[in-house]
Amino acid sequence: MSGATLHRVRIPRGATPVVEVGEEVRPEQVLAIRRRAGPARHVRVTDLLGRPPGQLLAVLRSRPGTLLDAGEALARDAHGREVAMPFTGMLLTVSPADGSALVAPLGEEEPVIGHVHGKVQAVEPGAIVLEVPGVVLRGVGGTGDAVHGELVVAVHAAEEELRAGAIDVGATGRIVVGGSRASAETLTRARAMGVAGIVLGGVLDKELRDFEAIQQRRREIGGLTGSFGVLLLEGFGKVGIDPQRFAWLRSHAGRTASLFGADGLLFVHGASTPPARRTLPRVGERVVAHRRPFQGRAGVLVAALDELHAAPSGIPTRMGLVRFEDGRLAPVPMANLEATLAGPAAS
């Protein structure tokens, strides 16, 4: 969880890397340049050569996807007659019905940004691998883009819900640590206020889907700008962040963090070792439970029961007795428990 982590930044096909192996990179640094195809234009290739449409593929000089300079031969027949590329661009597709080729100029340069501090380890086809000297927290889900920004905490307690009112202009460009959930309204407001990303213990799946639907509609009508990511650390539903983890995040407020919503990752740069997690906890260890009715609650494993016992669902399994932090003692399937270990990562 701590030390250097290898992080793979995917670059779309056709993008050109602009960094080299060994180079140090910053979160906002451009790693590759991409130029999408612009509006396509028909070139009536076979008409211009006086050939039937069915001979289009026979006269084409390049395969689709090839970049051609203005004036370069797009097609040539057996008599040496040529159809030239009308501008610098890409041969996009062919239409055998009318013997035309669709060519497209390349659009503006679009940067591919890594969003992390690190050192370039490798430049592979389709990806740039970075060695990131930060700490990484792995979540259980998320949505949205890769973003980076200063880490801020917007709730007072791990189990508190992140309200829309807690998001103000001060959060613009930052990664906001919320609590146990956020509504679609809060997420929409955060995005509108320019928040880079939100870290939550949990969120209702419906709220997340509503938020995604709103973003999709805004994208379709062209009103969506900037990037935004959401990361879930514990689970779906109203689930507080484990208090140990929350305290660690709070202690690192002000540091640069990188959030990868779709991949469920949060890098915190220059951070101390975070509380670690380990499956199969031992008696006496602090644990966090993962399924209802104790989802997200922390406690201490006071006993691991011998033999198999039926959970309330009826499934026979290995059970542990947990003294939760609210004082309740309850049997929980061992498979649903993780030890939470402060300090160096567990084995």
């Binding site: 056709g14 395969r63 996807g65 055998p96 889900g141 799946d205 199969l280 399924r291 499934i315």
Partner: protein, 565 residues
Amino acid sequence: MNERPVARDAVEERPRVAAEMTLLVDAGSAWTKAAVVARSRGRWRLAAHVAQPTAWGEAELRSSLVARLVGVVDRRVADRLPELLAVAPRISCHTPRRAGRLALGAVSAELSGASARRAAESAGWTVEVSATADDGRSLVDRVAALQDAEVDAWLLCGGFDAAGADQALEMASLVAAARGSSDAPVIWAGAASLADDVALLFEQGAVTVVDNPRPAPTRENPVPLRHALEDLLQRVVEPAGTRQHTPVAFRRSVSQLAASAGRRIVGVDVGARYLTWAQADESGSAESRVFAAGGLAGARLAGGGPGRLARWIPMLIDEMAVADGLQNLHARPATLPQTEDELAIMQAAVRHQLAAAADSERGEMEEGIDLLIGAGRSLAAAPRPSHAVQLLLDGVRPVGVTQLALDSSGVLPPLGALDDSEIAEGMGVLRDDLLVPLGTSVVTRGGRPGQVVMRVTVHRTGWPPIGPLDVRTGQLQVVPLARGHEAELEIELLQGASLGGARRARRMTAMAMGGAVGLVLDARGVPLPVPRRPDDRRAVLAAWRDAVVREPAVMTLDPSLVGER
């Protein structure tokens, strides 16, 4: 298996009692199932089995097995069990590390695209991105979407064999543009007449031509494409060999069982990541589908099926809670449902995934099947056998007379990983322990609503006949028939009901084998009809559940039926 090395301790001076044992391990993406097969009084028997989250590791697995074995082994070897297990021969299989990722280009989303997608998703691939000529996007947006995706291979299809289609060639050239200089393989599974033109769009040797899965608007031919994609998956994603892959090994086991028993068998293994459907005929000839998004953490569930799933839950659970429950299954597949509500959500997901797989295999099952085997932890470790029976019947809807069984100890996949020369022997020596019989189902299709559609008399040797029992459309009845017992069924079909296949006779006889649940007479039809009103629907679902659960045979739960002992 007799030739396997004997685990001994050679250090002791005094001769020590040896133990012959073999470890069978199926390492899943979420759960690992392990069983110890040991020789006892000259016979190989299943001595113990456990299931635990894969993340718990090897040492814990052995320790759990030792704990199970201590009570049953010879006292003279009890204290040496850890070392005996450590050196015991091991037969293992594992879930493939990931599914293949495919980009799909097709002319029509509904015709060529749908056929290709179905073939791909049942061959262990996921479709990461698709572009079709009718998807409403501009050419530029299609190219950008195809460029963005990270894929292992490209699948192109479109055009009918009799006609071809210029649009198919346009789509192929668009894919060629997006693929650029990538060396990922390309499969052309479109109109045969366009194959040469498509090959010209890519570098030499990049394109493999496969039969069109949609050769005509009203005809599908998915098998050649599925086989080509299975081969490609092995080459591209798992080049080290696939016999040890659980889906492959499971198919081999089902095939061997079918050949040795001379029966038509369907095996369904619902895992965290994949759903494997293996079907074999009497000769042992087997086909399997690996539904890459068919497991409990499958994308199909996560992608927004809570409303559909909630319809199949016999208790009132908020749809939002169902959605969260499904997402948590996806996020933490190695955890267990702790509450009844969570169990109901998980079982609804199992039923949904089985039904989705069965729908695509309905044609193959038309002639009926003799034995339906459930595997995977969600079925094998169901709290009661009646749960497993209900999941199998509701999900698969095996029309006809079908014996039902569970691979409760998870030994079928590891045994399928044995060499060709050993698999028959391995399964033969364990024949009594391989499967837990659940009983026999008689499932009808059709019939007039509310009318008696099936009249069944059960004849057992030495016992008075039961019945005739009248079963109405929509009803489910269970008749006690214990494990090891056999009965002859006299079945009369009424009101246009049928048992599928070519059998159109109104009266017939069939043999039924008993099991943990018994004989299940199921006249609910195919597909399962449920009322629209939520209250009525829940009442009907609860009645079906209670009809199976009330069966007396399940009142004392056989410990061998659960995943862990």
